[in-house]
């Protein structure tokens, strides 16, 4: 086994400074999850519960002329059938998406269930609730839908053509408030300009211009979507949902069904992976309507085919990039055009692709044009660092090409151009303190990079990545128990051990063992508003709320102790779980002792905290990969992989490493195998795990990790989000490694065996 999981030297100081942070406790929900007791979305069982199933469009693009549900309704065991006509009219209503502003509601409703038109293969058109899933499935076969099939458009560039079929006849290109004269599949165009391109290119000694493409890929979480709804006759709706954000589900269902939020309670179950794909709602409003109609609880669980056909994928994309560098490797100018598929309705994450694209580097002259384009594929959802891999892939590949031409070391060109605090990014905002340089240096100096790679058809690739991270709103409620433990209720669903990384921050403040904090993820009635588990924000923002709760409890305990001892509260301090006087009379008691006393007196100690921090810093990573290419079959084998990343402060290093390793492997899948195959009719041909090929344990070596800690000055413990950036570098790192191994540069993802073979034969 390879040596792995190194901590940069900063950790030693941290170990002295912190008691809890930086340790590796067993997670609080661990026993439930290794014994099969944890309740995930599909595990919910209620008395009298029915099973809902969804009928989906067999066409990629079709007008819905009529739907006849009579035969299905008549089937024994069927208790309710619904179509989009059962949703309140969405025509002129808008949805408030917080920072995204007011948007028309119709596309959101139509994506949940098509009203007039199916815009992708697998688009929901009707649903049934029955006493068993098998009966519900039989009933789907009895629903008669009359379609008028239309030609589909499946590719982002074709969709941008003047004469392309239109996904929506009433969609016009928006350019910051100005609408195009004719309807178009281009939903919007935005632009960032910095400096002067012509000057920048004039200063360059070498200029390259290339095109890069990414196929549509899916988040691939192992747990399919599942939602259970119980609509009571008094109008109260309770939902059990596997989701990244219970409050987001509440808002979406409230808007789609036009019912008051106060009558809607969302109980998040355990969640079996999300990666951005469990933010939008799909079966949730459907289960609710079926429950209202059937007057019984209804559970809607997707199967794997439905997950692939109708949820999630991230944008397929086209990127055109032109960059200029000096002989020394200094980047003088970069011009790019990004076109991202939004799927069936507008709203790709192209804007994030634009923001992140050049962020690792300080480039004086940049222009970025971004196009959001509808095609006949599922409405795209966020996927880990949404938008960033597609655009940064281009930059990282091109930098490597420059290195090869100029004889530069890939680490040195990244250090030469690396972004620092205060550098203005391409969208005009200055960088806060980031660990770009420190991370690259750690990658350059690591044992992997310093060890030469030998052997035929082998190559080493390097790439970096940046992700902006997010802050957003998070809430916790903390309460001291009579035995000195603290219960901690939080609104952030726990996808990867965040109960513990949040609890650790509270424990650190009080100086108590993390086992004495009892975290639980609670429903939307039981904690303050909390936005999604996404944007790598939970350990940062929810952790901050827990830190504040810890501080509040600490000062309450100090006040109570001062009261008890009849001293001024300035003369009392709390450290390591013990409260002491500082006035020299050396009185002391443990938190446990004081808690027992207070509980007996009926004095409540606790706190309710909500934070919306913005100083989330940015995450930066540099990866090194060794590959071997089989020139006959085109198969690429990953020989060794090292991921280096700035975590700001690693609260629970094991879960930081886990995020890095998981992100890398998703990136490897994206790089080498994963893609949606559509036939010429726009039908998805590989909607199973057998045909949509995600990495298995057999495809991989151990993933070595090096955590760099450049504390984020915007967080009490220096935390930066860590979850997303590790998916950014692998695609380019592998492409660069292949180039060094066999001399072909691949700019289209995935770099599947047939692509590699084709490129090799074109070369020879």
């Amino acid at each position: 086994m390879n040596p792995t999981q190194t901590m940069a030297p900063a950790q030693t100081e941290v170990e002295q400074k912190y008691k809890v942070i930086g340790t590796r406790p067993i997670r609080h929900d661990g026993v439930d999850k290794v014994t099969g007791r944890a309740v995930y979305g599909a595990d919910v069982q209620l008395p009298g519960m029915l099973h809902g199933k969804v009928l989906r469009s067999p066409h990629a693009h079709a007008n819905i002329k009529s739907i006849n549900t009579a035969k299905a309704e008549a089937l024994y065991g069927v208790k309710a059938v619904m179509t989009a006509a059962d949703f309140p009219d969405s025509g002129s209503r808008t949805a408030n998406l917080g920072e995204l502003g007011e948007v028309p509601l119709k596309p959101m409703c139509d994506n949940v269930m098509a009203s007039d038109k199916a815009v992708y293969h697998g688009h929901a058109v009707a649903a049934v609730a029955a006493t068993s899933p098998h009966i519900a499935e039989e009933a789907l076969g009895l629903i008669e839908v009359e379609y008028e099939v239309l030609p589909p458009v499946m590719d982002v560039l074709k969709a941008m053509d003047e004469d392309s079929p239109l996904v929506h006849e009433d969609l016009y290109t928006d350019e910051l408030g100005e609408k195009s004269a004719k309807p178009s599949n281009v939903a919007s165009h935005t632009r960032h300009v910095k400096g002067d391109l012509s000057q920048g290119f004039a200063a360059a000694d070498h200029v390259l211009e290339r095109e890069y493409r990414c196929a549509t890929v899916h988040q691939g979480y192992i747990e399919p979507h599942a939602a259970t709804a119980m609509w009571n006759p008094d109008g109260y709706l309770t939902m059990w949902v596997t989701t990244q954000g219970a409050f987001t589900v509440r808002t979406s269902v409230h808007q789609i069904l036009d019912i008051p939020v106060s009558k809607l309670k969302v109980i998040p179950t355990e969640i079996g992976g999300g990666f951005g794909g469990k933010i939008p709602v799909y079966g949730e409003p459907v289960a609710a309507v079926l429950s209202r109609k059937a007057r019984r609880p209804v559970k809607v669980v997707m199967d794997r085919t439905e997950v692939f056909q109708a949820t999630g994928p991230t944008s397929g994309s086209y990127v055109k990039l032109k960059m200029g560098v000096t002989n020394q490797g200094r980047i003088t100018a970069a011009e790019t055009m990004l076109a991202y598929e939004a799927g069936g309705y507008p709203g790709s994450i192209v804007a994030l692709g634009g923001i992140c694209m050049f962020a690792p580097y300080n480039i004086d002259n940049t222009t970025i044009d971004m196009y959001d384009v509808v095609v006949n594929k599922p409405k795209t959802a966020a996927y880990r660092a949404p938008g960033a891999p597609n655009s940064e892939f281009a930059v990282e590949c091109m930098l490597d090409e420059f290195c090869e031409r100029l004889g530069l070391d890939p680490m040195e060109i990244r250090l030469l151009n690396g972004a620092k605090e205060g550098d203005i990014q391409s969208h005009g905002i200055p960088h806060p303190r980031i660990g770009c340089i420190e991370t690259t240096e750690a990658a350059r100096d690591c044992e992997h990079y310093q060890t030469p790679l030998e052997g035929p058809n082998r190559g080493r690739g390097v790439a970096s990545g940046y992700w902006v991270n997010a802050g957003l709103t998070s809430s916790v409620t903390a309460r001291l128990n009579g035995d000195g433990t603290v219960t901690l209720q939080e609104g952030s669903t726990d996808i990867g051990g965040t109960r513990t990384s949040i609890a650790m921050q509270l424990a650190e403040v009080l100086g108590i063992p993390v086992e004495d904090v009892v975290p639980s993820v609670v429903d939307t009635d039981s904690v303050g508003y909390t936005e999604v588990t996404g944007g790598s924000r939970v350990t940062f923002a929810t952790g901050w709320a827990a830190y504040n709760a810890g501080q509040a409890i600490k000062s309450q305990l100090i006040e109570q102790a001062a009261d008890l001892w009849k001293v001024d509260k300035d003369q009392v301090s709390l450290a390591d779980g013990v409260i002491t006087t500082t006035n020299g009379d050396s009185r002391s008691m443990t938190i446990k002792e004081l808690a027992a006393d207070l509980s007996q007196k009926g004095i409540d100690v606790g706190s309710r905290e909500t934070v919306t921090p913005q100083n989330h810093g940015g995450a930066y990573a540099t990866h090194v990969v060794d590959v071997e290419v089989d020139p006959d079959t085109g198969k690429v084998t990953i020989l060794r992989y090292t991921a280096v990343q700035d975590a700001g402060r690693a609260i629970h290093p094991s879960y930081v490493e886990g995020q890095m390793q998981g992100g890398v492997v998703q990136g490897i899948g994206w790089a080498l195998n994963e893609e949606y195959f559509y036939n010429e009719d726009g039908l998805l041909m590989n909607s199973s795990f057998l045909d949509y090929r995600m990495p298995t344990s057999l495809d991989l070596p151990m993933i070595e990790t090096i955590i760099v800690e450049v504390p984020n000055p915007g967080h009490p413990y220096g935390v930066r989000g860590v979850g997303e950036v590790p998916i950014v570098p692998p695609q380019a790192a592998i492409s660069n490694a292949i180039a060094r191994a066999v001399g072909v540069r691949l700019g289209d993802l995935p770099m599947s065996p047939q692509t590699v073979v084709k490129a090799l034969s074109a070369k020879s």
């Binding site: 920072e99 502003g101 910051l176 408030g177 804007a351 966020a382 905002i429 996404g534 924000r537």
Partner: protein, 87 residues
Amino acid sequence: MAIVHIPALLHSLTGDVRKLEVEGRTVGDLIDQLELLYPGIRDRLVENGHLRSGLAIFVDGMVRREALEYEVPPGSEVLFVPAVAGG
């Protein structure tokens, strides 16, 4: 007085003026002043009395959710950036 950065797509309206000093208490006031200088610019930034959906206001590097009502400290830098949500 604040320094307002004009979004790239509106440079055609300002004759390629990319940033300028504008008088005003709130972001809304700044936009009113811009409108006097560059007629038509307000409609590109404001929709039904609110900041256009899909835009965010950054003042000195921080998002200001108060949007048009945000009171701009003198000398600060105001940017209009496409709003984005994370994954």
